[in-house]
Amino acid sequence: MAIVAQSSKLSNVLWPVLAWIVGLLFFFPIFWMVLTSFKTDADAVKPEYLLWFTPTLDNYLNMTENYDYWRFARNSVITSVFATIFTLVVGIPAAYAMAFNPTKRTKDVLMWMLSTKMLPAAAVLYPMTFLTKSLGLFDTHFMIILVLSLINLPIVIWMLFTYFKEIPKDIIEAGKMDGVDTLGEIKEILIPLAWGGIASTALLCFIFCWNEAYWTVRLTTTDAATLSKLIEGNRAPEGLFFGRLSAVSTAAVGPIVVLGWFCQKQLVQGLTFGAVK
């Protein structure tokens, strides 16, 4: 008894301390970024102004006035929203078919879809750039939405598939007996039942789209350029401007952090789904 009590006392202290350390480690870069965004570019690199400095909004004003932040933000919203919608429109029926009418090849198909994520993006960079340019789709919303949809589709289908598998097959079959066709089954039964799962999948997909940088940076110049492109644009040409870069980054992650905060419950549920049953 005594040993049990002691070890539990120890773990009562140890685990929270460990959790705090890990939490701070994760939080620190964000904190650092936000802090730096309020420094001038000159102050940002001086160790003596590490924590104590005169805060300024110049970086933010500069960003909205000279860099057209809102245009980039609007592009991010358009491409992320439409890519998420498109992914769900394709992903829900696909996951439905595999969850409720599996064939011998269903597992292979799922694996194959996942395997497309294993292909390094760099390997298809040249053909993709060439293709988009020759099709006249370079720097268009359409192309970015298509690319964002395609790179997220495997994950979305996998997630939805896992959710749909949890719905008893009998309920879908009862629907069939009650005179519902396939579309009706999805609309009347599947979507209302899997609503939580679909919402968290949509949210994750949106976040992935929002944060995507590899393709949005390379397949856009101005018209369809997203916030990733704005961050990238502030990186190099005139040397490193940490203050400005931090402000742009903070403004880019801001909306998604706020969205994530409001949807915390769904997110955690979505990420841990199936892990503990």
């Binding site: 309920i171 079959e173 009862a174 007996m177 009650d178 005179g179 009347e188 039942l193």
Partner: protein, 334 residues
């Protein structure tokens, strides 16, 4: 109308044939029960009729119309599932209304049928609750209500009472039988419980490994089982089987004696044995007798009570006109 015919229907899952060619006709208004041990193909057969499984070959004919290729929603059948399969996100009212809404029935008619079904099934007070707030018995009533309002040509029941406790099961059994008497609609009922089969069916279909062993009324199966399997499956407790010399005396390879067709005496009788366990139910007593010189334990069912206990010596005598005879193949011999 609700006449259902299966013509040379087969079903295979991969290389495994679960239903070899099978022919069966269920007449309009009949209460047919598919019974058999787990994995005998009875649920598969029901699902083939429902259209939830595709036949590998053969035809499913409903009211003289070939429905083999018709999807479940267009077959005009209603099904009640073992798991109730209610829509958890809808209230009882919406659950019951669902098939009517899908069929495009006008709202007044829907409401009329919901009210009637709710009244018949004692659900009036629960119409605005969600399935999660109901007990198992109430949920099963909702599932039945959802089936009734469609006015189907036949009802399909897939072990609908298996998830209920014993007392509720008996009550629901009666309700379903009464419903059948009232509606006179064809019902096909799948169960592994031979008591349900005996009490509810007009006709019982006994299945083993996808093969129909016998089709007949409950009493036909009880009195004239076509083979050892049916003899052993129908009746509770199970029939006693005796092979060897005792069977040879009756000109058979095996003889079968039902527990209730055996007399017990503490003083004299044909076979002497020792009481292993005596189960006193009040109305009946089941006595399991060992060391009779016959193979295994011999079970006897006595109406009323009898004062025997573990270790007592008893004498058993089968009723001569109630001995079932089977040949080496297990088939009944007259």
């Amino acid at each position: 109308m609700g006449r259902i015919q299966l013509e040379n229907v087969t079903k295979s899952f991969g290389d495994v044939e679960v239903i070899p060619p099978l022919n069966l006709t269920i007449e309009d208004g009949e209460f047919a029960v598919f019974v058999g041990p787990s994995g005998c193909g009875k649920s598969t057969l029901l699902r083939l009729i429902a259209g939830l499984e595709e036949t590998s070959s053969g035809n499913v004919i409903i009211d003289d119309e070939d429905m083999t290729e018709v999807p479940p929603s267009k077959r005009g059948l209603a099904m009640v599932f073992q798991s109730y399969a209610l829509y958890p996100h809808m209230t009882v009212r919406k659950n019951i209304a669902f098939p009517m809404r899908m069929a495009g029935l006008d709202e007044d008619e829907q409401e009329k049928r919901i009210t009637a079904a709710a009244k018949a099934l004692n659900l009036t007070d629960y119409l605005d609750r969600k399935p999660g707030q109901l007990s198992g018995g109430q949920r099963q009533r909702v599932a039945i209500g959802r089936a009734i309002v469609r006015d189907p040509s036949a009802f399909l029941f897939d072990e609908p009472l298996s998830n209920l406790d014993a007392a509720l099961r008996v009550g629901m059994r009666l309700e379903i039988s009464e419903m059948h008497n009232r509606m006179q609609t064809t019902m096909i009922y799948v169960t592994h419980d031979q008591v349900e089969a005996m009490t509810m069916a007009d006709r019982i279909v006994v299945l083993q490994a996808g093969v129909i062993e016998q089709v007949g009324s409950p009493l036909e199966l009880y009195h004239e089982p076509r083979n050892k399997f049916v003899a052993g499956f129908i009746g509770s407790p199970k029939m006693n089987f005796i092979s060897g010399d005792e069977a040879a005396k009756h000109g058979a390879h095996t003889i079968g004696i039902r527990p209730e067709h055996t007399e017990v005496s503490t003083t004299e009788g044909l076979w002497k044995g020792v009481v292993g366990v005596a189960e006193h139910l009040g109305s009946d007593t089941f006595i399991h007798v060992h060391d009779t010189g016959l193979a295994g334990t011999f079970t006897v069912r006595i109406t009323g009570d009898i004062a025997v206990r573990h270790g007592d010596t008893v004498y058993l005598t089968p009723q001569a006109d109630q001995i079932h005879k089977f040949d080496t193949e297990g088939l009944r011999v007259a």
